[in-house]
């Protein structure tokens, strides 16, 4: 197995650019989904459920929920893109095969794909942030800092998703990852309620999950609270991103460079 440390080169942007060009062709349906789904969530849960809950951890429930949904949507978007779309380009569509006949190598392809996953995360999370601010859920202008943060969240979740693609024999395999990894994080990491309410053992487990750190960064910025331990949280996300990248490159090399 080729374990060499990957090189990140500017050529990765060519792979990113290819995906931008394809996305531009489908911009209307893409944006409709990006805005439509969170709008339903915030409207239904934020107002519907929020009317019963009132405040959560000292915040209006709509604000609490919106900040959680911004982070979890970055996770979902990067995971989805890193699995279904990356797998499509890697296996049935042979796009990577054609790229490997050019000066691009696997290191560039995976770096470009991770940047693209993070870009899509940023688009969808920013859409939610806009919807949330229209609904009055965003309490501080510091929320603009959420935009670079969700890019990092996207990178963090892109790596593991591409690792799954590199292993996978078919699309069915991705159901396991969503059921066993993405959904538990969505439910446990503080999107809907503060993690302090969880049993102690579960709390320490939740602390190693990246979505917890993603929410710890996004929520104070949206809710006009003091951001604490920002370096730690960003560090955890970047650590997931870097190790995901390395592992993804090794596994995709094993799959494509025979």
């Amino acid at each position: 197995m080729d374990l060499r440390v990957p090189r990140v080169r500017p050529q990765a942007l060519k792979v990113w650019h290819r995906n931008v060009l394809v996305w531009r062709k489908l911009i209307t349906p893409s944006l409709l989904i990006n805005f439509g789904e969170p709008f339903l969530y915030l409207l239904g849960l934020g107002f519907g459920l929020g009317a019963f809950i009132g405040e959560m951890a000292g915040l209006p429930y709509l604000t609490f929920l919106a900040s959680g949904i911004v982070a979890s949507s970055a996770m979902n978007t990067a995971s989805f893109e890193g699995m279904y779309s990356v797998y499509t380009r890697m296996v049935p569509q042979r796009t990577y095969g054609s790229m490997l006949a050019t000066p691009l190598d696997v290191d560039d392809i995976i770096a470009g794909e991770m940047l693209w996953c993070a870009t899509k995360s940023t688009i969808s999370a920013t859409a939610i942030l806009l919807v949330a601010s229209l609904l009055g859920a965003v309490l501080s202008f510091a929320a603009v800092l959420v935009v670079p943060i969700v890019f990092i969240i996207g990178l963090c979740f892109a790596g593991p998703a591409i690792v799954m693609s590199a292993f996978s024999k078919s699309y069915d395999f991705f159901n396991y990852y969503f059921t066993l990894v993405v959904t538990p994080m969505f439910i446990l990491c503080g999107v809907f309620y503060p993690t302090d309410n969880l049993p102690a053992t579960l709390q320490s487990f939740v602390q190693v999950l990246p979505l917890t750190h993603a929410i710890a960064l996004v929520r104070p910025l949206v809710a006009d609270q003091t951001l604490t331990n920002a370096g730690l949280h960003i560090g955890v996300l970047l650590l997931y991103a870097a190790s995901g990248y390395y592992l993804a490159v090794i596994l995709v090399r094993r799959r494509l460079i025979v």
Partner: protein
């Protein structure tokens, strides 16, 4: 490697070997492809042709041996080698998310090519493969032959010194195949070096200056098509159909030819077919075909008639 050597030899393989676990798919093959030549890689399915090509492109890492392209060793310099190479892969991998012209433009981007010259280049290439009026069509609207032509145009986008074609005409109709042959001859005339795999012997005979026949991963013959025919088979062939089992008696022991029978056809390989054809003229119930030996006879003679796979 010295500069002079790098200018004459485009590809140089010495003892190149590839193993997958216990299985040795390419066995110590050595060959040199000089600049400007069309070099053929022939062999039955599973002979190791595609693996060899993948090693040349750095898409597969050699287990042993030395392989250089443009004087640069693989797999370490794969990216630099591919920058000067055009590739027509065995299976279509055109980008279905783009139109014909966009396919070329996006692919050019992977080579770092952009700007105003690129539009001219794309127009020229589309003209070269007769797809100008299809520039805005989607890939899934193209026939198999058009897809191949687009793939050839795509392989030329970086004005490569070496063009690698892995079975470029498999599955095409005769019109499409002849058109691709003509384009490949144009490329050769323009000074490009071509590396071609095929199992159409006619194709190899028409296009290749020099070729290797490989089987079970090893080289079993090498030379120009004419030299291989001279070295491995008798110059003339008489094919007889519907002769039944008594054919050898019919031909008589003195026919001075080597006989192979496959199904209801008998192949007589000979240095002088005249005595045989004269005798056959007198037997109107037998249909026969008299032809010069070709590369396919060489191929079947040295790789055998057993089915592969």
């Amino acid at each position: 490697m010295t500069d002079t050597k790098a200018t004459t030899a485009i590809i140089e393989a010495v003892g190149v070997t590839k193993r997958f676990g216990e299985q040795e798919v390419v066995r110590r093959i050595s060959f040199t492809v000089p600049r400007g030549q069309c070099f053929g890689l022939l062999g039955p399915n599973g002979a190791g042709k595609t693996t060899t090509i993948k090693m040349i492109l750095g898409q597969s890492h050699l287990t042993a041996g030395v392989l250089t392209v443009f004087g640069k060793a693989l797999p370490d310099h794969a990216s630099a080698v591919r920058a000067r190479t055009g590739v027509v892969p065995q299976e279509d991998d055109l980008d279905p998310d783009f139109t014909i012209a966009e396919n070329l433009r996006v692919y050019a981007g992977y080579f770092g090519l952009e700007g105003g010259d690129l539009s001219t280049r794309i127009a020229e290439l589309l003209h070269f493969v007769s797809l100008t009026d299809r520039a805005d069509a989607r890939v899934d609207q193209l026939s198999g032959g058009m897809k191949r032509r687009l793939t050839i145009a795509r392989a030329l986008i970086n004005d490569p010194d070496l063009v690698v074609l892995d079975e470029p005409t498999t599955g095409l109709d005769p019109q499409a195949r002849h058109m691709i042959w003509a384009r490949l001859r144009d490329l050769k005339q323009s000074g490009k070096t071509l590396l071609l795999t095929t199992h159409y012997m006619e194709e190899a005979e028409r296009l290749c200056d020099d070729l290797l026949i490989i089987d079970h991963g090893a080289i079993i013959a090498q030379g120009s098509p004419k030299a291989l025919i001279r070295a491995h088979v008798e110059p003339e062939v008489v094919e007889l159909r519907g002769a039944g089992s008594g054919i050898e008696t019919l031909l008589g022991g003195d026919a001075d030819c080597r006989i192979e029978s496959v199904g209801d056809t008998v192949y007589c390989y000979t240095h002088d077919s005249r005595p045989l054809t004269e005798r056959l003229q007198a037997m109107p119930e037998l249909s026969f075909l008299h032809r010069p030996a070709n590369l396919e006879d060489v191929f079947l003679n040295i790789t055998g008639r057993d089915l592969r796979e």
